[in-house]
Symmetry: C2
Subunit: 207 residues, 2 copies
Amino acid sequence: MARQPPTKPRKNASQERSRATVDALVEATARILVRDGFEKASTNRIAEVAGVSVGSLYQYFPSKEALVAAVIDRHNEEIMGIVRAALTEVADLPIDKAVRKLVTVAIDAHRINPKLHRVLAEQIPRTGQLRDVEAYNREIQTLVRSYLESRRKEMRKVDLDVATFICVSTIEAIAHNTVLHGAEMLSEKMVKVLADETTRLVVGYLR
Amino acid sequence: MARQPPTKPRKNASQERSRATVDALVEATARILVRDGFEKASTNRIAEVAGVSVGSLYQYFPSKEALVAAVIDRHNEEIMGIVRAALTEVADLPIDKAVRKLVTVAIDAHRINPKLHRVLAEQIPRTGQLRDVEAYNREIQTLVRSYLESRRKEMRKVDLDVATFICVSTIEAIAHNTVLHGAEMLSEKMVKVLADETTRLVVGYLR
DNA sequence: ATGAAAAGCGAGCGAATGCTCACATTATAT
DNA sequence: ATATAATGTGAGCATTCGCTCGCTTTTCAT
C-alpha cells in the first residue's frame, strides 16, 4: 500500500480556521433549509451564504447530502440529549410520573426549532445517507424498553417490545403532530391539555 | 376577453386514446417511484416508461409535480375509500367494536401498496402542490369526530376535538410505523397482536 | 373523401446543479 | 527566511432536467 500522496483526500478539519469553516457551512445549510426550503439549498448557495467558496465546501463535505446529514445530526443530537437526560432523570419514578415527564419532554424537544423540524420532516427525501438516521429511533426504543422493564411490577402482563413500540409511536406521533399542525402558535394551555391527555392514554394502557 | 385561439391550453382528455395515455403516465410514474425512487423520476423517463413522448406528457400534466400529485391522489383515494366505508359501517357500533374495526382497517389500508406508501412517505418533498394533500387527514378527523360525538354517552368527559386528535394520531402512527418498520414481512399474528393492543390503548383512553 | 380538431412526437433549448481543478493564500515547522 | 502542508478560491465542465414547439398521425364529423 503506497502512502497516499500529500494531496488531502478530503475530510478532517484540524486547524481552527477550518473548524470555523465547517461550522459556517452547517449553519448556512440549516438557515437556508429554514428560510428557503430544501430545493433551494444548492451547494453553491450554501457556500455563498457561509461566506466560503464551493471548493472549500467540498474539502469537508463530499456531497450535498453530507451537508444535510450534518444538519439533521446536529438537530437530532440536540433532541437526543434532552431525551436521554429525561430518561435517566425518570429512571426511579413510577410509571405515571415518568410518562408525564416523557410526554412533556417529547413535545418540548419537537419545539426546539420547529421550522427546521418541519423542513426536515416534510421536505428532506430520506434517501441514500439520510436513510438510516432513524437509528435515533432505535436508541429511544431501547432506552424506553429498559425503563419499562424495570417497572414491570406496576404493569399488567404485556409483551415488552410491543408495549414499547406502542408507547414510543404514540408519544412521538402526538408530539410531532402537535408541533406540525399547531405550527408556531401553540398556547401553553393547549400544550398542557395535550400532555395531560397523552399521559392518561399511555398510563391507562400500561396498567 | 378574446377567445383563446384553438390551441389547447393544456389539459383534458376526451377521447379514449388520450385517456389511456393519461393512465399510462400515472401508472408509469407510480412504477418508477416504487422501483427507482423519487429522484430518478424525471419527466423524460416517465414518458419513456409510459411508452409516450414527453410532448404528450405535457399535454395532460403541466409539471412533474402534477404527475406525482396524481399518483398520491390515486393512492389516497384508495385508502380513503376503505376508511370512509369502514366509518359508515361502524356508525352504529359501540366504541370498543368500532375502534377495533378502525384500527384493523387503518393497518390494512397502509398495507395496500406498502412500497408505494413508503416512497410517498419518505421521499416525496411536501412542497408546492404536494403540500395540501393532507386535506385527507382533515376529512378523517371530521368523520371520526362526528362518530365520537354520536357515542358521547359511552365516553368520559373530554374535549371532543382533543380526543379526536389523539385517537387519529395514535392509530395513524401505529399503522404507519407497523407497515414501515415491518416492511413487507409482517406476520398475521403480529398484526393481530398490534391491533389488539392499539384497540385496548384507545378504548381505555376514551372510557 | 375531406377537412378540422385531437392526440402524439421527439430533438433540443435554456437553466440549474453538483462538483472539479489549477491556482492563490495562510499557517506551521525549521 | 524558507519550505511544506493546510486551507481557501471560483470559473467553468459535464450533466441532468423540466419543458417547448414545429410538425406528423389519428380520429371524427360531415
